[in-house]
């Protein structure tokens, strides 16, 4: 079967610049989203995720301009997230050239937003993002606002609800693993993936090639997202894909 697992680099964008990036030897400006996006496309990235981490949200124009510039030059699917609060934000980003928009806290505050957006412009445009943390109750719970706010919502139930409300795919970030390089939370991923019909993107914890394989095999993820291992060139996208291919996972090479 030619169903391939997707490898997705995530770029943090602050005020129109890529942050946490290191210099790839052959690009002039590691902070330029267009140059970095082009580089990832050439390396074989299957999609790109741009996360707007600008602390001040008074001016959303910067990320819109960034998306527009990237979409003029790079022709692989582009997902944009971070601070998306309503239908108009989604439309503005799609109009700028984003293919999908990730919604996180806004969906928890107003779940009908998912139905509203997907019924008007289609499920394929909406990536529902969940930040989940294992709690002392023995279940994973949903956190919002960049992980600062505990909602008390059961992450597994929330994933099913987002699926039923029409989300096109789920981006699942384990807050226990994010930034640790200890590997993805495969129990969380598997629990969600076996309960939903839409694709699941694994996020949080990538540190080794084996971690990527485990997310796909044990976590049953359809796509794997990583930031620092690509930015700091611990592995290239080619290396990840070669490794997965040798382990029997279908990838686009």
């Amino acid at each position: 079967m030619s169903y391939t697992k997707r490898i997705i680099p995530c770029l943090d964008i602050d005020d129109g610049r890529v942050v946490k990036g290191v210099n790839f030897v052959d690009i002039k400006d590691a902070g330029d989203p267009v140059e970095v996006a082009k580089k990832y496309d050439l390396m074989g990235a299957d999609e790109l995720v741009f996360l707007d981490i600008t602390a001040t949200h008074q001016d959303r124009k910067t990320i819109v301009n960034t998306v527009e510039n990237v979409a003029n030059e790079v022709f692989i699917p582009l997902t944009v997230g971070g601070g998306v609060s309503g239908y108009n934000d989604v439309l503005t980003l799609l109009k700028a050239g984003a293919d999908k928009v990730a919604i996180n806290s806004a969906a928890v505050e107003n779940p009908d937003l998912i139905n509203e957006v997907t019924s008007k412009i289609g499920s394929q445009c909406i990536v529902a993002a969940i930040d989940a943390k294992f709690t002392s109750d023995g279940i994973w719970k949903v956190f919002t606002h960049g992980g600062r706010k505990e909602t008390g919502i059961d992450a597994l139930e929330w994933a099913k609800e987002l699926n039923d409300r029409g989300a096109g795919e789920l981006l699942i970030t384990s807050m226990d693993r994010d930034g640790t390089k200890d590997g993805f939370d495969n129990n969380l991923l598997k629990a969600i993936s076996s309960e939903v019909t839409i694709p699941v993107i694994a996020s949080g914890g990538a540190g080794t090639l084996k971690h990527m394989l485990d997310a796909v095999k044990l976590g049953m993820a359809d796509a794997v997202l990583a930031a620092s291992i690509f930015h700091y060139e611990i592995f290239s996208i080619e290396e990840v894909k070669e490794y997965l291919k040798n382990e029997g996972v279908s990838v686009r090479i």
Binding site: Y3, R6, N72, F75, P77, Q124, P199, D222, A223, R252
Partner: protein
């Protein structure tokens, strides 16, 4: 300077499509996004991207255009349908039991999820196996990867119209071609080098 119209009927990622076309056209051609039948008629080539549900798509088309006139338009000049822009060219879609434009003889059916073994929508990169030789696939390797997002696929008894197949759960038709029409299930505008090549071949296509 020739003109390429991207049909705007209120849905779909028309901006991505227009950007990709402009990229491959360079300055020799003008890409316009339009819902004016007059403007579309005056263009040299027509691109029809589609997203969303079949019935909604047909309703939107009916609201914006006269369907008889629209069908004539499709038959006159090089026409590229993308994703839902392929599906509504068929006779009938099982999605909400929708009567479609009947440009190609055939139906649109849902991909079977095989008891949850197959995720829907089919979202990601899959190989396109071309079964027809055509200038539209010049310099595109057979079994090149293209990006897909869909839950339904087309079927037709007219074997001669089939341009390629792809596998996802089952083997399905991923593009159709006849006369002046090319229609693809995948998104060339999001398929990196292979996708841009296909768009460029379409731009250079002389019917």
């Amino acid at each position: 300077m020739s003109k390429i119209s991207v049909i705007d009927y209120g849905m779909g990622n028309i901006h991505s499509v227009a950007k990709a076309l402009q990229k491959v056209c360079g300055k020799e051609h003008k890409v316009v996004i339009s819902n004016s039948i007059k403007e579309i008629k005056s263009s040299d080539k027509i691109v029809f991207p589609g997203q969303g549900a079949a019935r909604l798509c047909m309703d939107n088309l009916r609201n914006k255009f006269n369907l008889v006139e629209f069908r004539e338009l499709i038959s006159q000049k090089p026409f590229l349908g993308i994703c839902m822009g392929l599906q509504i060219l068929m006779t009938f879609s099982e999605e909400d039991n929708t009567e479609c434009l009947d440009i190609f003889n055939g139906r649109v059916e849902q991909i079977q999820s095989s008891n949850g073994q197959i995720k829907l929508p089919h979202m990601g990169w899959s190989k396109v196996n071309f079964t027809k030789d055509h200038s539209l696939r010049d310099q595109i390797g057979n079994d090149s990867f293209f990006y897909f997002v869909h839950s339904y696929y087309v079927s037709t008894p007219s074997r001669e119209d089939i341009m390629s197949f792809t596998e996802y759960g089952c083997k399905f038709i991923s593009s159709l071609q006849k006369d002046n029409i090319l229609a693809v299930q995948f998104h060339p505008e999001k398929s990196s080098t292979a996708g841009l090549k296909l768009l460029s071949n379409f731009i250079n296509w002389r019917v």
